[in-house]
Amino acid sequence: MNSLRLPLLESVFCAVSLGAIVLDNERRIVLWNSWMVKHSGLQHEQVLGQDFFAVCPELRGGRVDTAIQHALYNNFPSLLSQTLNKAPFALYLSPAAAAHDERMQQAVEVTPIAIEGTARHCLIQVSDVSIAVGRERLLREQTMVLRSQTFSDGLTGIANRRHFDVAMEKEHRRAKRGGTPLSLLMIDIDHFKAYNDHYGHQKGDQCLIQVAAALAGILKRPCDLMARYGGEEFAMILPETDVDQALLMAEAIRARTQQLAIPHERTTDASQLVTVSIGIATQKAEATVEIDALIGAADRALYQAKRNGRNRVAALQS
């Protein structure tokens, strides 16, 4: 029984369905199992007794090298995740993949191996995590699709309040980090309640759709965002935009709305057309404020624009 034990262990080692390599204390390859032969294309006789870094020169100086040193000289095991180490070993799932240099996704473990009578060895285990990586890629793609659906307003198709909150958080952090100004516009359709009461809710919805589409069309940069903030209120996030540029943008919005020439008999504006009032708040590059304070300032500016007669722009700098 005992005489069979060693060849049996070696056969088992060879047969396991993950990559297994054993190095001696001088980092020479002592064992290289069949899985490694199959996926690396390197036969036993090509690698056994060879210096590990002569066989895998690109691993020298990298994480695998450090892990081997840790195992051999410090007695510590290491784990190399697929996520942080993109496929360190040249291993392929098929000859076709090898031809395209499309490596197998790998997770690697390097563990010290104590043997009586000789200096410590180490075991390198490589597992194929391609399936898990594929599954997570799918999960992220579907999350993206789902998120873009839950982030848009059902009526107008522009970004909804939730999207606004997330974008605001992101842009606010980016402005703080990059030391750039950030402007926020609050846009409200004048006397919208009266419009709804007079023309009916269907017309009211149509007015919202038309105004939203026209204003969203003004935005040219991908980082700008226009969202439906509440009933007839819209918000616009303008990164890297100072108060002067924000005023220009607001004035363009005000003019564009009037240009739509949507009749509004119940407005106080002499034009008798649908108009908007706009409040601007700008966070200067050198003086950042909290998000709530910025929104509050834009709200106060909007209120001021309303009080000054509507169909106009007001700005507050915070």
Binding site: P77, T83, R140, R177
Partner: protein, 208 residues
């Protein structure tokens, strides 16, 4: 409570700062960005208090993400790197540069977190071992999620053990994240540790 002299305390902080410094440079090499880490302070606290210190926002136990490894040799300890769950999401995603954040760490991200823990803990304990001129033997990292009490229990720590708590400041791409490394020690491990520190101090003094 178990206490160290000021000298012993300073020596330990210095050793751990060397350790996390090495971990930071390994991590910088992975993400090809500057990663900085430091240990501003350490403390010895009872196991029960450690559970309370870690994440008790408004009396509700916060979810903690932990990576543990067991070490044996010059002293025996269970070492656990711990971050509040949201911070662990932040760290992994900063390291990975992932654009689509999901609510929890995915399987692959958990493995990445294990690797981060592995680098940190091996660097800290490795530095200790080198300075103590003694060898320690470590296990592979294990991922945990739960309250700090659950994690401390899952890693097999006794209620009467003592925790050497390292406060870790982790700085990546202008994000500063606070975490902890806990070394759970029983009374004999505690004395082994103290003895090793004193041997180190004696050697250091002798050489001056």
């Amino acid at each position: 409570m178990f206490n160290l002299t000021e000298l012993e305390n300073d020596a330990l902080i210095e050793i751990f700062n060397i350790g996390v410094g090495q971990a930071a440079s390994s991590m910088s090499a992975i993400v090809k960005e500057a990663v900085r880490m430091s240990v501003p302070s350490i403390s010895f606290i009872p196991r029960t208090e450690a559970a309370r210190l870690l994440g008790q926002a408004d009396g509700v136990a916060e979810r903690i993400c932990g990576v543990s490894q067991r070490y044996r040799g010059a002293f025996d300890t269970e070492a656990i790197l711990m971050f509040p769950e949201d911070k662990s999401l932040e760290i992994v995603r900063l390291m990975v540069g992932e654009a689509v954040p999901l609510k929890e760490l995915t399987e692959m991200e958990q493995e990445a977190m294990c690797e981060i823990g592995n680098i940190m803990l091996n660097s800290c304990v490795g530095t200790l071992a080198n300075i103590f001129q003694r060898e320690l033997q470590g296990s592979l990292p294990q991922y945990h999620i739960g309250t700090s009490d659950e994690i401390l229990t899952a890693t097999g720590s006794q209620f009467n053990s003592v925790v050497l708590m390292l406060h870790i400041d982790f700085l990546l791409e202008k994000h500063q994240i606070h975490g902890y490394v806990a070394f759970v020690l029983d009374i004999s491990a505690l004395h082994d540790l103290k003895e090793q520190i004193n041997l180190y101090i004696a050697r250091a003094m002798g050489k001056v």
